[in-house]
């Protein structure tokens, strides 16, 4: 039987039961490999449940630094009887199945083309521990020990990680190390060597290992957000929770210990966006974090903020849709809902981060953009980026950069006789001046409404006033094009007829697929869209290729629709490829789809141009 042989390039999947303490054990394996200088990319695949349902943890070990999902599993750690059959099916031929052999495995439940590794985890635990919870937790550490032995993971790295985890709790530290060693010893004595190995490298460099939600929260702190209002919703809750936990120190006034920010967990999303709009109206930088259903609820306010021209930042950690959606699965399915959120003629600025580094950068940038443009700005992340730890560039900040607070008319400017029209386009860029409440005793006060107003914020239902306002908003949206991040081009090594457009969490899988395709002689130029409104570079890119594949993680091809509506591209040039089952898109999926389609596009039937 063949045997998968690989060094620093394989996928291990752990099948566990939710609430069994497996998450931290599995993370230990990922972190230990990382500490050996070999990049890893772990992904949680978990149910909407706290205890008892199946959960998976997939660790991709990737010396090349391919951080997307590859597709396929080389080794399965099958710890959950509920999902046994499905887990066994998923293993690549020649791959490995590791299981708890305390009870015999019927031949019919296994496969002939995989290598089966049994270890009596329950038996070992039962003979060593009497406490039920210990039996459960140390079972996890036992298989970590066995894996360390089988894969050549440096046990000292695991011990160091234990040391950090159990600092000051020596008893726990010792018992964990002991369990680890029991697992290692057993594997050394009883288990046959396998073909998957980790070798020490220096490929991680100064990269950091962090989830996108934490990164977004830090971006909001660095970007100067002082008000956060939120309502718990998976997969976005940890944005606000990270904001709360980091601001305890980072925003404490050194003299009084009081907070330089305010966080409110509101009664619903209607209220959280209301708080953000109120704070933005009053000159504070404010944000909320939510997911698709929250966006639906916030839509009325989003329209008000658009027309009343109030800065607001919404971090949308997208999940499976539609309706209440698959709360623990990933998708990019709120693109259109956010681009046009609300009643009336509204359009919004969207940013598409590819990883935690950009979650940090774009969340901070969104706060600047929202105040510069006086409008809601959406950071369109998703569950795959938001809730998984990802290796990425270290966060960076330039201390010399000041916040862009936008056009705010001051007390002195009003005193000097400036003509203040709240909705007056004085600079030709469509962006008016605003005043904060309380600025001046007799000048600059105004009454904020939606659309029923003239350029001086007076009540008006007159058609020409409405038209003036809409035309100015259109100019403002044009101005936005020059402020939002440009798309990123990855040029093929050779001139290419075909191209791809992609965005957000598709990025790492796309980079890997492009390399694989180039290896097969298929060269494509690739453009990563990073923002809406779309710059002219995107239309030019599409125009210079005969076909452009648009890869999306939703059913409708939402970015494609937006490109056709808003970018001035030829719809016939675009070919949408969608992946929408709730799992992150894989490099293998992209490679296969492009290979098939390119083959099809290159075929010239004999009877072409002839009438049958």
């Amino acid at each position: 039987m063949q045997k998968i042989e690989a060094v620093n390039d394989f996928v291990i999947k752990f099948a566990n039961i939710n609430g069994s303490g497996s998450a931290s054990a599995n993370e230990l394996v990922a972190r230990a490999i990382l500490r050996m200088g070999v990049p890893v990319s772990p992904r949680n695949i978990f149910p909407s449940n706290i205890q008892g349902l199946p959960t998976w943890f997939e660790v991709r070990v990737t010396e090349h630094g391919y951080l997307g999902r590859r597709g396929g599993v080389d080794m399965m750690i099958a710890m959950n009887p509920q999902t046994w059959d499905q887990d066994v099916r998923e293993i690549e031929p020649g791959g490995y199945l590791f299981y708890d052999s305390s009870r015999p495995l019927p031949r019919s439940r296994s496969r002939d083309d995989i290598h089966v590794i049994g270890m009596p985890l329950t038996e070992i635990c039962n003979s060593n521990y009497s406490d039920a919870r210990q039996r459960q937790l140390f079972k996890n550490i036992l298989y970590v020990g066995a894996l360390a032995q089988l894969l050549d993971i440096d046990a000292r790295e695991i011990e160091k990680l234990f040391g950090q985890q159990f600092k000051g709790k020596e008893k726990l530290l010792d018992s964990n190390i002991q369990a680890l060693n029991v697992g290692r010893e057993y594997a050394r004595e009883h288990l046959k060597p396998i073909g998957l190995h980790v070798e020490r490298r220096d490929k991680v460099g100064d990269h950091i290992f962090v989830d996108g939600n934490t990164a977004a929260a830090l971006g909001c702190i660095y970007g100067g957000a002082t008000v956060c209002a939120w309502y718990p919703i998976t997969p976005s809750s940890s944005v606000a929770e990270a904001f709360v936990s980091y601001t305890q120190k980072l925003r404490a006034d050194p003299e009084t210990g009081k907070q330089r920010c305010a966080v409110v967990q509101t009664e619903d999303e209607l209220a959280s966006i209301g708080v953000v709009v109120g704070a933005g109206w009053n000159g504070a930088r404010a944000f909320t974090a939510t997911s698709g259903p929250g966006i639906s609820l916030m839509s009325e306010f989003i329209g008000l903020a658009f027309f009343a021209e109030i800065p607001a930042v919404l971090i949308n950690v997208q999940r499976g849709g539609p309706s209440t959606g698959m709360p623990t699965r990933t998708q990019q399915s709120d693109i259109l809902a956010c681009a046009y959120a609300s009643h009336g003629d509204t359009r919004h600025v969207l940013l598409f981060p590819e990883d935690p580094f950009e979650c940090f950068e774009m969340s901070a940038q969104a706060l600047d953009l929202a105040e510069r443009l006086q409008t809601p700005v959406f950071v369109m992340t998703d569950l795959d980026i938001g809730m998984n730890q990802r290796l990425c560039r270290p966060f960076a900040w330039d201390d010399s950069v000041e916040y862009d607070r936008g056009k705010v008319m001051t007390h002195d400017a009003l005193d000097a006789g400036a003509d203040f029209g709240r909705y007056l386009d004085v600079d030709g860029d469509g962006i008016p001046y605003r005043t904060y409440p309380g600025t001046h005793p007799t000048k600059g006060g105004y009454f904020t409404r939606g659309t029923t107003k003239n350029a001086y914020a007076g009540y008006s239902e007159a058609g020409p006033d409405y038209v003036y306002n809409m035309q100015r908003l259109l100019r403002k949206f044009e101005t936005a094009k020059s402020l939002v991040p440009l798309p990123v081009l990855t040029a093929a090594r050779f001139p290419a007829r075909f191209a791809v457009i992609y965005y957000g969490s598709t990025s790492p899988a796309m980079h890997e697929a492009l390399d694989a395709l180039a290896g097969h002689g298929i060269y494509l130029n690739a453009l990563r869209v990073r923002a809406f409104p779309f710059q002219n570079e995107i239309a030019d890119f599409v125009a210079s290729h005969s076909k452009v594949f648009v890869f999306e993680q939703n059913f409708d091809g939402q970015l494609t629709t937006l490109l056709i509506n808003e970018a001035g591209v030829n719809p016939a040039s675009l070919l949408t490829v969608v992946h929408y089952d709730g799992t992150p898109i894989t490099a293998r999926f992209i490679t296969r789809e492009i290979t098939d389609r390119v083959a099809h596009l290159n075929v010239h039937p004999l009877k072409e141009n002839r009438v049958a």
Binding site: V210, T256, C261, T266, V275, L304, T448
Partner: protein, 351 residues
């Protein structure tokens, strides 16, 4: 409504308050509501209260939802910033505004449709949080702008203009405010300026969530016989529990009263609410007895008005969140951004 523009010139002998403003400086645009609308009387009471309190008009932020009542902030304090938000959601916008700058005075103006129907949730939660504000409900039991539908505060059995009786139980916003933890609850009547003005003054000075439910008859759709929110009905059934005088911190209390006639409630900021009791057994410092009293009288068809409850130890949301004393909207990068060196430490912790 009137189409006559108000003259801009003020009479030179108009009295000025301590901060140099005449009463007319607190006015706003001309009301577009129906002539005789109770809401205009409330606007006049707000103008009077702010002038008397020597508040600089631009230090007040006026927020409202949607409806006739929510249009009124345009008709007073014309130099203040105002925000006509979305239906039923003013409380959350006010909360955000208050968090951004704790130094301004926040006035929330809403109606019974806006606060008791679509906005009941936000009305309840803003009180739970203790946002420092004065929340005035202009309560007429009817939807005016959409021409006469019952609202959630309409009494059961009250008749519409077309003679249909309301079959739903009413929501009593004053009782609800007490349950939800408001630290100042008053009820008044738009036709009783002598009661309403000091109530608004005391509410503005109150350092927590203050609610005043003001019954304010709708002249167009709910002022007929058979309505329990008409001028005549409210006058007949008004049961005032007290009369109050309000003394800001700096003012000396000079009036003399006989023993046992008055109760003084001293608030955090040093201001004093002096209550002249009209009902010997009414104690406005007890939340529980206030609730019982309101319910007992409501069962008899009486509308209890006056200062119903005040907590002189009230705290607000900023205190609970432990935010700094300065307005958050004045902080810049120097105070907010932890800087590159701190970020390097964070990076190190993530390796």
């Amino acid at each position: 409504m009137t189409y006559l523009a108000k003259p801009r010139l003020h009479h030179p002998t108009l009295a000025k308050n301590r901060v140099g403003y005449t009463r007319r400086d607190y006015e706003g645009k001309i009301s577009t509501l129906c002539a005789g609308c109770g809401h205009d009387s409330i606007s006049a009471a707000i103008i009077q209260a702010c002038w008397e309190l020597d508040i600089e008009p631009h230090r007040v932020a006026k927020l409202s939802g949607i409806g006739c009542s929510s249009k009124t902030p345009d008709y007073f304090l014309g130099n203040s910033h105002g925000f006509n938000t979305v239906h039923g959601r003013m409380p959350s916008v006010l909360t955000g505004a208050n968090l951004a700058n704790r130094e301004l005075i926040y006035l929330g103006v809403s109606g019974d449709g806006d606060s008791a129907s679509i906005g009941l949730g936000q009305f309840a939660h803003v009180l739970r949080r203790g946002v420092n504000m004065t929340y005035i409900v202009e309560n007429n039991g009817v939807y005016g702008l959409t021409k006469g539908q019952f609202s959630a505060t309409a009494d059961k059995g009250s008749k519409s203009k077309r003679g249909r009786a309301n079959t739903d139980a009413p929501i009593d916003l004053a009782s609800l405010a007490l349950v939800m933890g408001a630290t100042f609850v008053g009820r008044s009547f738009s036709g009783d300026k002598a009661q309403l003005v000091p109530l608004i003054r005391a509410a503005i000075a109150h350092p927590g969530a203050a609610v005043i439910d003001v019954v304010s008859p709708c002249i167009a759709f709910n002022n007929h016989s058979g309505s329990t929110k008409s001028y005549d009905y409210v006058r007949e059934h008004n049961e005032a529990v007290n009369r109050l005088d309000f003394f800001p911190q700096r003012e000396e209390i000079t009036a003399e009263y006989g023993e046992g006639e008055v109760t003084d409630v001293r608030q955090h900021d040093g201001s004093v609410i002096r209550l002249r009791k009209l009902h010997a057994d009414y104690d406005p410092t007890s939340r529980v007895s206030a609730m019982a009293y309101i319910q007992e009288h409501a069962a008899r068809g009486e509308v209890v008005t006056g200062l119903l409850y005040v907590d002189n130890e009230a705290a607000d949301l900023h205190k609970q969140l432990n935010t700094i004393d300065r307005a958050l909207n004045t902080l810049g990068a120097a105070e907010l951004c932890p800087g590159a060196a701190a970020l390097e430490k964070i990076n190190a912790s993530l390796r």
